[in-house]
């Protein structure tokens, strides 16, 4: 049977068609709303293409904010320059409280490595939604049992470590480990976590550090073996609860990819506070919890100035590793 939802969707399609025919766009311009709201029509820039991790985060946050504020939050994927084009677009919106951007580590690495016009100080940080730490994984039949085994083996002979991107958080994490233990790993750079996983499963590389959400399928099936989590605390998810932290095994490195959202630079304090309040409300919802759990993040939330201080520290770490390359 064709159920109600189908009928509704078909009607929506037909309505779109009618709308087109009548040539009416019905673009209601949002004026100044109440309670310091910057407007009813909000844009959420996602600086990467649809279907990726940033897009998932951007759409989840946009939906969450829509639910708590009642405004319309439209996601726009503005793609190019490894994220730089989207950030540059926000840079041009100086003082505009109606444009947000789903941000992540690229905001920190791009200004260090590339010649771009912005840094994290150009924008107004609103909310850090969560942290995506790396877990060190090897193929199921590898002889290593702990992260220290890997470090010891790397001191003896040359190991290959797969990283996703030359400036990715996994690359930075490995660099920190190398400095701490005076070892050196041969990096093999892949385009995405999925390719890293494939290379690990095929036995083409020795070890990888990847965010758990990217490899949960292989963890469940037992095709890869987690050694340690490069996180301050163990994960609470059932699948990862038994995975010790790096610190437990003598590797005191934690480095995460964070996710969050920012507003344009120079927005009024009123608008900044409006978005922080909305973000606090969003963090209390079930939708927020679902997003965090589906993507196996750690829900370490920061707002406004705290988030800004976190970014300042983060910048120093990134600079220490990538600045001299």
């Amino acid at each position: 049977m064709i159920d109600r939802r189908t009928t509704a969707s078909l009607l929506a399609l037909a309505a779109t068609g009618l709308l087109v025919l009548s040539g009416c766009s019905g673009n209601a311009q949002g004026g100044e709303g109440d309670g310091g709201s910057p407007g009813r029509n909000i844009t959420m820039i996602v600086p990467f293409s649809a279907g990726g991790g940033s897009d998932l985060a951007g759409r989840a946050i946009a939906q969450g904010l829509e639910d708590v504020t009642g405004s319309t939050v439209t996601v726009e994927n503005i793609v190019g320059g490894s994220g730089a084009v989207g950030y540059s677009d926000l840079l041009a919106k100086e003082g505009d409280g109606t444009t947000l951007l789903a941000s992540e580590t690229a905001l920190m690495t791009l200004p260090v490595v590339q010649d771009v016009q912005f840094s994290h100080e150009s924008f107004t940080p609103i909310m850090k939604v969560g942290e995506d730490y790396n877990i060190v994984v090897v193929a199921a039949d590898a002889s290593y049992e702990t992260c220290m085994d890997v470090v010891d083996a790397a001191a003896e002979s040359s190991l290959t470590a797969a990283v996703s991107g030359a400036t990715g958080p996994d690359h930075i994490a490995w660099s920190l480990i190398e400095d701490q233990h005076d070892i050196s790993l041969e990096r093999v750079t892949f385009e995405s976590s999925a390719e890293v996983t494939a290379a690990l499963l095929g036995g083409h590389i020795d070890v990888a550090a990847t965010s758990p959400g990217e490899i949960v399928g292989q963890l469940e099936s037992g095709d890869v073996k987690p050694l340690c989590a490069l996180a301050p605390e163990r994960y609470e998810y059932e699948l990862l609860a038994d995975v010790p932290t790096g610190a437990e095994q003598g590797i005191d490195v934690t480095f995460a990819q964070w996710r969050g959202f920012i507003a344009a630079g120079g927005v009024s304090e009123e608008h900044e506070q409006y978005w922080i309040d909305a973000a606090r409300e969003y963090a209390e919802t079930d939708a927020y919890e679902t997003y965090i759990e589906d993507n196996m993040l750690q829900p370490q939330v920061l707002y406004g100035d705290e988030f800004r201080r976190y970014l300042d520290e983060y910048r120093q770490q990134v600079e220490a590793v990538l600045g001299d390359e």
Partner: protein, 179 residues
Amino acid sequence: MMSEAGQPVRRAPTKSDAVGTAFLAAIGAVALVMGLGYGMFGDGGQVGPGFLPSVAGAFIVVASAAELLRMYVAADRIRAAAAQERPAGDERDTFGRTANERTFAVTQVFGIVFAALLLVPVAGLLLSLAAMVLVITVWVERKPVLPAVLCTAGSLGLAYAVFVQFLGVPVPTGTLGLL
């Protein structure tokens, strides 16, 4: 003349033909030099960021030079083959243009597209492109105004329906903010 199969019927080498090939050689040379600047190899002898650009650039230089040479060595043979081709005199084509008018039309279309793109930040993407269609059909193709307007309105409507309404593409509306 060029067939779509990438199997051209050889024309006699013209001066512009040689200029084109030499231009490619120049691109190759620039790529080679810049590539060397990016570094051919890393610390441990790994392939570096300049490796493939340099190799591709060097290849283009060598191959273009060989092609230039071949063009002049084989010129006679090619000229003979070219004699059978469609004469490019003042015979009128399907657009009703002579060869000279055709070359001018190409320049016109290039100019109109360029102008339309410059107009995008002001008039928005859809209107600029619609203006482009109208100007080309009326001015370059000298079509009657009514069908040209219909054609423009049709493509504007189609683009609006598909891209804006259905796909939800955030098409820039420019400073005029009309469409």
